[in-house]
Structure formats: C-alpha cells, structure tokens
C-alpha cells in the first residue's frame, strides 16, 4: 500500500465560504478545518448545504466569497480539473464503456500518475476486495461493487483529498453497512484526508473522526461522534442525530425535574419551563402498578428490533419511547402498567416553543 500512503495527510481549510443560489444561502459564512489524515463527515437534512460545501472544495461549484486552502495552497480560483482531488459520487459514476481496470487506468492517465499503471490498478482493486473483477464492465457489477470500484479509482490517483458525496445512499441497507465499514477501514489504512457527506446519521457516526451537523448553510456543531450524540448544543442537533423524547420539565440551573424525577442538564441548557430531550436508551421501564401518577405509564406498542426493543409508553400529556435490551422488554405487552425511570445521564433542555 506504499503508493497510496504517499498521498496521505494534507490539511484542508475552508474559510468563510458563502454561496447564494437565488434566494437560498447554500453556504452562509461556512468555515471548516480538516486535519491531515482526518475523516470529517458533514451531516444534515437535504438542502442544508453539505453537498455544496463538498462541491466547493472539489471545484465543481464556485463560491461567491471565502477561500479554500489545501495543503497550504490557496486553490479557490483553480478549476476542478487542476485541484488534485478525487470524488466518489452518489450515483454510480463509472465510465460505462470501460472495464473496471480501464476506468482506473483512464483516471490515472488523466491525472498523469507516474509508475507502473498495471500495478497501481491491481493494488487498488485488491484494496477494495475486487482483485478478480478487473475485466468486467460496470453493468456486470452490483451497485455495491460499482461503488467499490469508484473508491479504488479515486484512491489510485493519490489525491490530496478524498471527497465522498453520499456514496452509499443508492445502496441496499445490508450492502450500505458492509461498505461503510470498508470505507472506514481503507481510509484508516491509507491515512488520506477525507470529507464525507451524508444525510444518514448512523453512517456519519460510524465512519467519521469528527461529525459536523449543518443547517441552512451553517455549521451548527462539530465534534467527535460520541460528543455530538451525548452533548448536543442545540435541539436541532439532538433531534437530527438519533431519536429523542421531548418531555416538558422545569429547569433549576444544572438539573431539571421531569416526570417527577430529577435529571442533570448539559451546559447551555435553557432555564425555566423547558423541553428536556432524553434519548430512548436513557429511559428504563419497570412493570409496576400503582406508582406515583407522574411517573406511571401504560405500554402502547412494543417493537422488536433484533438486538434490542423499543417500547412506546403513554404518559400524562403524551408518550415516551424507551429502548430496552431484549431481556428487559420481553415481559411487556401493550396495556401493561409500568414505572418510567429516567437514567442519571445529562440531557439538553431547550426553551419550550
């Protein structure tokens, strides 16, 4: 893998990028630093500007203002074909009239990659586990295999930065999970600086060193996956990453009372009458009749999910969803009375709207 390692580790700085389409600010004073060899995932709902950010970095999209620095060099004014990056697109972007090997070879020819191209092609196909498919045409491959080839092609040209634009969105659930693990493994092996754009929060959490959550062209929060998940700074982030229960509560500084219990609050929480955001896995249920009314609930639906189960419980003024292990949930059936217990995990409180 020596040939690919050579390209690893270029830093990227996006500085105050702004891009306006008509009345939409796709990028609104957007800044992002990517450390050499790091994989950053940009996550957000459609139209949040994440793809525009990636395309601006690639040069396929112009920016109205701001600057893009790669490996210390300002590339803002360079056209796409001279930026020395490689991209994997959502739709299969293989050249239909070339074989798998031909695709990779053609990319190397365009990028004028030095060395024995046959060897480079073989090495990179090996890297994505398709060593035996070199002579097949794209239409003879499954969607997952096509995206693997696209990845191999992108790595073969030893780009300064690897750009992944929702590379897994068009794939089946099973293949998606396989390939995202593969992408992570290969990226760590090669050590290449990577920007990964997705709308799938699970994908972002699994794959990235840092996850950036975007909304309306702005970066709302960026941090390690576990940080983003357990310490969101806004309701939008908490809501977009993972599932949350929104429970009415009363904040008293560093803690709040919710469902007759006290829950510690994260820094930045609102005070007064608030909505407290609690993850399903931070709620447990205990079969019990006649508990205090404010923590009593009645099971509405139980949903078995294989390794765990989700239970929807009716509580005064709404419902909560709790995530339980299979053992804990097996005794519960719709109609059962339960005690709803909130775990002692810090939660975010936002002003009730």
């Amino acid at each position: 893998m020596t040939q690919t390692s050579a390209s690893a580790g270029r830093g990227v700085q996006l500085r105050n990028l702004t891009r306006v389409f008509g009345s939409v600010r796709a990028l609104d004073d957007f800044s992002l630093d990517i450390a050499p060899g790091e994989l950053v995932a940009l996550l957000g709902p459609s139209g949040c500007g994440k793809t525009t950010a990636l395309r601006a970095l690639s040069g396929l999209e112009d920016v109205d203002s701001g600057s893009i620095v790669v490996d210390g060099e300002d590339v803002t004014a360079k056209p796409a074909n001279r930026r020395d990056m490689a991209m994997v697109f959502q739709s299969y972007s293989l050249f239909p009239h070339m074989t798998v090997a031909g695709n990779i070879d053609f990319a190397c020819e365009l990028r004028k990659v030095a060395g024995d191209r046959r060897k480079i092609v073989a090495e990179n196909l090996e890297l994505v586990g398709l060593g035996t498919q070199a002579d097949r045409y794209p239409h003879q491959l499954s969607g997952g295999q096509q995206q693997r080839v696209a990845l191999a092609r992108a790595l073969a040209v030893r780009p300064k930065v690897l750009l992944l634009d929702e590379p897994l969105s068009a794939l089946d659930a099973k293949v998606r999970v396989q390939l995202r693990d593969e992408i992570r493994r290969i990226q760590q092996e090669v050590g290449i600086t990577t920007l990964f754009v997705t709308h799938d929060q699970e994908e972002a959490l699994v794959v990235a060193d840092r996850v950036g959550v975007m909304s309306s062209g702005k970066l709302m929060q960026i941090g390690a996956p576990a940080d983003i998940y357990s310490r969101p700074v806004t309701g939008f982030v908490a809501d977009f990453i993972g599932q949350t229960n929104k429970l009415p509560g009363r904040s008293a500084g560093s803690s709040a009372s919710v469902l007759g219990q006290t829950v510690p609050l994260l820094p930045g929480s609102a005070s007064g009458d608030v909505t407290v955001l609690i993850r399903p896995e931070n709620i447990t249920l205990r079969p019990a009749a006649g508990v205090a009314a404010d923590r009593a609930g009645r099971v509405q639906i139980t949903g078995f999910l294989g390794s765990h189960a989700k239970v929807r419980v009716e509580v005064p003024g709404g419902f909560v969803v709790a995530q339980l292990g299979v053992g804990e949930s097996s005794g519960l059936a719709p109609g059962d009375e339960v005690e709803v217990i909130l775990k002692d995990v810090p939660a975010l409180a936002v002003a009730t709207s």
């Binding site: 396929l60 050249f95 009239h97 053609f106 089946d172």
Partner: protein, 281 residues
C-alpha cells in the same frame, strides 16, 4: 387454474392481431396499391414489368449521367449534413445540459420548429438567401443545399441525440472526468461520444435517409439531387415513377430497420447497466 393465465394470454394475442391489422391498413395498403400501379398497364389492366426493367436497363446513356450526378450530389450533401448537424448540435446540447439548463427548452423549441413549418414555406424563405449564396458568397453548386438540409434534419438529429444523452448520467460522468483532471475536450471525445455512439449512429442514418429522399428543396431551387434526377428521368412515365418511389421507400425502410436494430442493441445493453441493485454483493 391454468385457465386464469391462459385467458390473459389469449387477450394479449387478440390485441396483437388488431395492432398488426391496423398497421397493415395504414401502411401496407398504399404500398400494395403503388406496387400494383407500377406493374399494371393503366388502360388495359395488363400486368407487365416494363417500369421495373426500365430502371435496371435504361435505354439512354444521357439519363444515366444525370442520375449519377444526382446520386453523387446527394451523397456529398448527406455527409456534409451529418457532419454539420451533429458537429453543431452535440456540443451545444452538452453545454446546455451541463451549464445552461434554463436554455434547454429554447434549444429544443428551435430544433423542433422546422418539423412544423411546411417545406414549401421554408423554401420560399430560403430562396433569396440561396440567390445571394449562389452569386456572391459561394457558387451555384448543388452541394450548398446541405446548409438548408441541416435545418430540415435538425429535429431528427436533436431527438436522437436527446435520447442518447438522456440515457447516460451526463452530469456525473463529466464531473467525474473533470475532477480527475480531464479537459472539456476529453469529456466530449473520450467519455460522452463513446457512450452515445448508438444515438449518433441513429442520427446519421436518419439524416442520410432524409437527405437522400429530399425532393422539394432541390426541385424548387432548381438543383440536381438524387430525387430530382429521378423525377426528371421519369417525368413522362407515371409507372416508372411509382417503381422508383417504391425503390426509395424500400431503401429508406432498410436504413430504418438497421437504425432500429442498432438502437435496440444499445438500449438492451443499457438496460442491463441500469438493472436493479441486488442484495448480494
């Protein structure tokens, strides 16, 4: 329970027969009449093949020269028209799709306009221009008619290329090529052209068919092409005209069947490309 399925199948068969019958009434009946007319002596109703024999063995060598000149002109114009029409339209359509999607409706409108303008009107409009071209810019050579034929074939070439460009992911393919360092020239020649080859071939065929069959322009602007030379030779003999018409129609149909086969092959290959992604990986 086999009957459930058989019933549906027999319904399909009936419909197939109806479609073929309809096609026959609309297309074969005129042709049969034409063929009949070409071999039946008008007054007596006697059948002979004189009209067809006249085509194979013309009795007058001057006639053959004219035919040869017309055929040569038509072939040269066919090649010129193909090169001009595709050379202008393919890059234009590519750029419109990639860079100026708002213009695509205008370009489509312009390209399809000639379909709806009667040829007679077009000729009347072009006549003064050709008067200028003949005397001041180029000369009175028939082959400059190719410029007018480009207008005539624009709709067909547009539709053919449009279908071809629709069948590939033009944006992703060109962005991929660009991102790997390819120039626009590379995008056009090494990525787009090979992938819309069957559309280009079909545009060529239809252009050639139209140019070889064109009569109105050449006649009204008094130039010699294949059709006008045939017309001139056979002006005196309606039966020979019928035979020539059938011959032209036959050749055109052959071209079209070839076109259909080529496009069909291309589409079948593409259909496999776009086959749904399965779970096995």
């Amino acid at each position: 329970m086999a009957g459930v399925n058989a019933r549906a199948k027999s319904g399909a068969k009936t419909f197939r027969v109806v479609v073929i019958a309809l096609a026959s009434v609309y297309f074969l009946l005129p042709l049969v009449s034409l063929a009949d007319f070409s071999v039946r002596f008008p007054l007596t109703g006697k059948v002979d093949a004189n009209a067809w024999l006249a085509l194979i063995a013309p009795d007058d060598s001057g006639r053959l020269d004219l035919l040869r000149e017309g055929l040569f002109n038509s072939l040269v114009m066919a090649v010129m028209t193909v090169v001009l029409a595709i050379g202008i339209l393919l890059p234009t359509m590519m750029l419109v799709r990639l860079r100026l999607p708002k213009l695509s409706r205008i370009v489509e409108f312009i390209c399809l306009l000639p379909l709806t303008i009667p040829a007679v009107v077009l000729v009347v409009g072009l006549a003064p221009i050709y008067a200028v071209i003949s005397t001041k810019i180029l000369d009175a050579n028939t082959i400059w008619l190719a410029f007018a034929y480009v207008i005539l074939v624009l709709p067909f070439v547009y539709r053919s290329l449009d279908a071809g460009l629709r069948s590939i992911d033009l944006k992703t393919l060109s962005e991929t090529t660009r991102s790997f360092g390819g120039s626009w020239w590379t995008v056009l020649w090494r990525v787009i052209v090979p992938n819309v080859r069957s559309a280009i071939v079909s545009a060529c065929f239809i252009t050639i068919a139209v140019v070889l069959g064109e009569f109105t322009f050449a006649r009204m602007l008094a130039r010699t092409n294949l059709q006008t030379s045939l017309f001139q030779i056979n002006l005196s003999d309606g039966q020979v005209a019928a035979a020539v018409s059938l011959l032209c129609l036959g050749l055109t149909t052959l071209l079209l069947v070839a076109l259909d086969l080529i496009v069909g092959l291309g589409e079948r290959r593409r259909a496999r490309t776009l086959a749904p992604v399965t779970v096995e990986d």
